[in-house]
Amino acid sequence: MQGKNMPMATGKKIIWLTGVFLALLIVLGPVYMLVKYSVSDLSSINTGGEPIPLWPYHPTLRMYEFLFTDSQFYRVFMNSVIVSLFTVLLSLLLGVPAAYILGRYQIPGRKLLLLAIISVRMFPDIASVIPIVEFFIKLGLHQTYTGVVLAHTLLALPYVIFIGIGAFESIPHELEQQAWVMGAGKFQTFFKILFPLAIPGLAAAAIYTFLLSWDEFIFSYFLMFGRQEIFTLTLYLNGIKYAEPQNLLAAISVCLSVPVIVFSMMVQRYMVAGISTGSVK
């Protein structure tokens, strides 16, 4: 272990640089492969025993062109957008008021509530999915957008509350008290002072929820199994894995990943903080 700014002997430096290089290769190699496959022509995939080229013989954007004009892909994409947006809406509607109370007030039973929220998060999705599907079948929510949105909200709510608590907690109490002193009521204080100041954190929570719903597979799969027309992107991708050529699979994968990567970079700060303190996984 070196200190943070220690000088290194040349030999050690070379070992360390090699390590970083290998690490970058491990992380970026698969990403490169994904992009490479998505722009490959068929002759670069079905090579007839020849080694697959590291860069396609005839790179092409045909798969993307196809996807952008394909009505089925469009519908699946829109399904994903609809489910994710409604999940964000519902999660924020339920989560932000709760986060406001938990972040601003030392109410009795606060610790117990936080513990309950964490335990909901720790419960395995694959175990809770059966009861929820059975319950939704009874309510007639099986194979509907509503069912999927409700389920995704259940998954996202703990994160929204935790990130929201952080956002509200970080606002100095003096600001709120100043508003009271100046005659603002509780509602006015919330909407004029606290909410605007918490927006960056809440935006992060919203993005995080969007990504969670966008990526989600288990609940989507169990709840939509058998009704193709409401399939989201993740399900669609899984469904065609045996049938389609690999370059199309890769192109769909890229379309599925790009929003996630872009949004993730936007909320990277919050994600890093959340993971480091253990509140986000």
Binding site: G3, M6, P7, A9
Partner: protein
Amino acid sequence: MADVVINSFSKKFGSNIVIDRLNLQINNGEFITLLGPSGCGKTTLLRMIAGLESIDGGELFIGGKYYNNLPAQKRHLAMVFQSYALFPHMSVRNNILFGLKIKNVNKAKMQYKLTWVLNLLYLKGLEDRLPREISGGQRQRVALARALVLDPDVLLLDEPLSNLDAALRETAIEELKRIHHQVGKTIIYVTHNQVEALTMSERIALINKGKVEQYDRPKAMYDDPKTLFVAEFIGSPPMNFLEGEIQIQEGFGGVNTSIGFLKLDKDRAAKLEAMSGRKVIAGIRPQNIYFSEHVIRRRHTDTSLDLIVEFVENMGDRSLVIGRTRNSIVMRFMVTRDENITSDQKMPVFIDGRCIHLFDTMSRLNIFNNDGSI
């Protein structure tokens, strides 16, 4: 033998030059202090000696051995850090024995060393405590014990007293002096606190902007500051500084300043005659300005002055008086605390001409003390 020779040390962080062709020689067994304001490069210098920072330029010899390329692990030095850097998960005993265990010292010798150092630093009975279970002063002594037990050629101390409160610091200073006397190691001590430096060390290297301003015995640093920076830094309360010009008046060499013509002692006055018209800054310690009423016999090299008292700061055994001259120049001086002085009172004082320090306005060097400057 563990004399330390530093030849033309250089260190850069990016484009920022932290140590600038610095030279320093430390004799075997000597206790020296690297003193300077924060950011002057003193800690960097210490870390370069320890091998924790690379040496960008220059040479380091310890005991005549070329040390530049030796990694920290192989240098026969020990260091005490500002934060003490005690391993929080190890008992006092394991902290102290950490280095010996790495060197595979045999059990009997380890036990002997442990007993010796525990006795030396009054740590007996604390062996099984964890660092968080002992007091700040004890932690500081454990850090010192951990260094001494390695029997290093040179002991490096990086502001080891800065985390102690004032009362503890006094005893710690005495402790350090005692230990240096007992073990006789070469000690390099880093601090920004001039009191620590002046009371403990045999020599002080005052560092400013990566260079040694003056390397001297504490008394010499105080009595004969070689540069304006040394004069500003050493001594408390700070000196009075007045801009002026060297002139000859009534056959005496002196400095014409905003508060009038200041006379110097005979020897130096004679030297001034050759420098007439030179722009200088005169520095006068508050301790060298006296309240006239108490002095019966006055020298002809004293300069009289009338001050109006602005206010008085009680400093315990003495008081610092802040006064203004007729033309509103602020002067600070010391009186005994028995003096009954009130604001707006008029006070006749005089300045001891033997204790006026003169620095060249341009070069900022003492015009008498620097070889070749006159």
